[in-house]
């Protein structure tokens, strides 16, 4: 193919970053997320086993569901027995626990933190409010379905789910990871435009890059 077509294709593959002011765009990446294929079968099974054995939760209590994360972490229901521990920075975390409802101000931070996490990354959504809005179904500031904005692997129903339910959910997640079904990162990369459209529909002042690493 001729070079200029390739350039055009590359140009339209790049992100616009319209939210940013002109002079700042050069500081941010304009590449879209790319699909990353898993390794060969046996190696992938092995690393999946390792991933499922050490899950690192991002320490971001986005809602009232995160109140039950503290008993989960501490001495009564000691989650560290299962190799699950908290990680204060999204760069190192691998599990994002959405604690309950996400308000419009929080979903912006959720998207940003989720995109900064280094894959493979898994999302656990707590509470009825993330499934269908729960008792805030008619609130003007809380979203109804979280899976329109980021891919979700496990839902844990209840308001709020008990720590036992959370442990069960983590076990479910581990089983899914070992089967290699948790592919939210590639899902996000494939349907990137759809997710972005939904996110920009509710985040009115989009003043961050379209995809921030």
């Amino acid at each position: 193919m001729e070079k200029k077509y390739i350039d055009e294709i590359e140009k339209e593959m790049k992100l616009a970053n319209e939210g940013l002011p002109e002079h700042e765009r050069k500081f941010f990446s304009d590449a879209r997320p790319s699909r990353i294929e898993p390794l060969n079968k046996h190696l992938e099974n092995f690393v999946n086993w390792a991933r499922s054995k050490s899950l690192w939760i991002l320490a971001f209590g986005t809602g009232c569901g995160s109140t039950e994360l503290r008993p989960l972490m501490t001495a009564r229901f000691d989650i560290s027995r299962y190799g699950i521990s908290g990680r204060p920075t999204p760069r190192q975390a691998s599990v994002f626990v959405i604690g309950g409802y996400a308000s419009m101000k929080t979903i912006k931070r959720i998207v940003r933190s989720y995109e900064q996490m280094q894959g493979p990354k898994y999302v656990i959504a707590l509470g009825s409010c993330t499934i269908n809005g729960g008792m805030y179904y008619d609130s003007y500031n809380t979203i109804n379905r979280i899976d329109y904005y980021i891919p979700v692997d496990i839902y844990i129903a209840g308001c709020m789910p008990r720590p036992e339910a959370l442990i069960a959910g983590f076990e479910e997640l581990k089983a899914k990871i070992r089967k290699g079904e948790c592919d939210g990162m590639n899902k996000y990369a494939d349907n990137f435009d759809w997710y972005k459209e939904n996110q920009k529909k509710i985040i009115k002042d989009w003043n961050m890059p379209d995809y921030n690493w």
Binding site: G63, C64, S103, T106
Partner: protein, 399 residues
């Protein structure tokens, strides 16, 4: 830059000779001159309490300007309550403050009873008092764990969270809910005490006391804790009126402001609640006040069990709550939560739906105005301890 011997803390002043230069009393902060850094502490940060953020401007390690940014938990409760009937309002209000939901339940039920002119039976009052005190204790346990954790002392927070969990088990037995217990419905309470509840509670009180004595030994008598907390975030008695400071934060600097004593509600008139005050007004004094409050709460629970009548009606006669019209009027009902005055302002216009409900949380002022004032001049290491020390609870700020 920051003096840190305990005695010197009383006249605590940071060295302002370099940054920021002051012009007619106001510091000039110019971010373009590379003397200052802007740091967002939160919302994704292990050191903040809940889902809030503080926008800091620091020079070196010292904070020269702080602005609290809230709103990450705004659900528009007041709007939702305008769309719900009175009895439908009741199950959602306990979500307003997550660690201590019962104060909200009590306030909204009492406001409805006050507007509708319903007098609730004695036993229901006793049970409400018991429930309020238990939730106060649970929240204080969570708080002291957070205070120790903010200083990097993980053991205390692990112990207290485990102990709080046993109290939550009692809640579950009494109300059926672990964190959110929709217990104090308008006109009374939902359930009477289950069998054997009192024995379990008394046995747990003893264990909690042992834990509290351990905490005093390990935490309050710790030299490093003292050297970090004494003199941190001093609240003066003059600030109390100016900033609307209530609760333990006000009591820690000598202002006798306790609603349980000043305006006794449910059954506090018949219990001997003591006014617990301190004089220093710094973080250590606040911690001590809350520690003594926990002991007093244990005493109160024992006293309630002694004085509570065995049987009795627990639910007053209500009209059909599905189409319950409350006569027009306005009222303000307040209760003493762990953070201070927690009030509900309810306006009804004679229809089935409330016209306006407003929840006044104590940390609305504590963690915005007061925190922004206290956070200036301290080191960035102390901010987490300070935020816990003023006991900020984000969900009740933004409702």
């Amino acid at each position: 830059m920051i003096k840190n011997s305990e005695s010197k803390y009383k006249d605590f002043v940071a060295d302002r000779s370099k940054y920021p230069q002051e012009e007619n009393g106001k510091p000039v902060i110019d971010l373009s001159s590379h003397k200052y850094t802007k740091i967002w502490q939160g919302p994704q940060h292990p050191g903040v309490t809940g889902n809030m953020s503080v926008e800091l401007i620091v020079t070196g390690d010292e904070i020269v300007d702080a602005k609290t940014r809230v709103g990450y938990l705004h659900r528009g409760f007041e709007k939702l309550m305008e769309r719900r009937r009175y009895i439908q309002c009741f199950p959602i209000v306990c979500r307003i403050c997550v660690p201590e939901p019962d104060t909200n339940e009590y306030c909204v039920s009492a406001a409805m009873e006050d507007l509708a002119g319903i007098e609730i039976p004695e036993k229901a009052k006793w049970l409400r008092t018991l429930n309020l005190e238990m939730s106060r204790l649970a929240n204080f346990l969570m708080w002291i764990g957070g205070q120790a954790g903010s200083l990097g002392m993980g053991a205390i927070s692990q112990w207290t969270m485990a102990m709080r969990d046993y109290w939550l088990d009692l809640f579950e037995e009494l109300t059926g809910g672990r964190v959110y217990h929709m217990y104090m419905i308008p006109g009374g309470v939902r359930k009477d005490l289950p069998d054997g509840f009192e024995e379990k509670a008394r046995e747990l009180i003893i264990r909690t006391r042992d834990l509290l004595y351990d905490i005093e030994r390990v935490f309050f008598n710790n030299s490093i804790v003292k050297s970090r907390l004494i003199g941190l975030g001093i609240i003066t008695p003059e600030m109390v009126a100016e900033y609307g400071i209530v609760g333990p934060n006000a009591r820690a600097c000598g202002v006798e402001n306790d609603i349980r004593i000043n305006n006794p509600y449910v059954k506090y008139a018949e219990l001997n609640v003591k006014m617990i005050t301190a004089t220093e007004g710094d973080a250590y004094a606040r911690a001590k006040v809350r520690y003594r409050e926990m002991h007093q709460t244990l005493d109160l629970i024992t006293e309630i069990f002694d004085k509570m009548p065995a049987g009795g009606e627990i639910q007053a006669k209500l009209p059909n709550v599905l189409h319950w019209k409350i006569p027009a009027g306005q009222t303000y009902v307040k209760a003493e939560s762990t953070r201070g005055e927690h009030g509900f302002y309810m306006v009804s216009d004679g229809t089935k739906y409330p016209r306006r409900v407003f929840a006044r949380g104590a940390s609305y002022t504590h963690s915005i105005s007061v925190l922004e004032k206290l956070a200036v001049n301290i080191s960035i290491s102390d901010l987490a301890a300070l935020m816990v020390s003023v006991h900020s609870c984000p969900p009740e700020i933004e409702r």
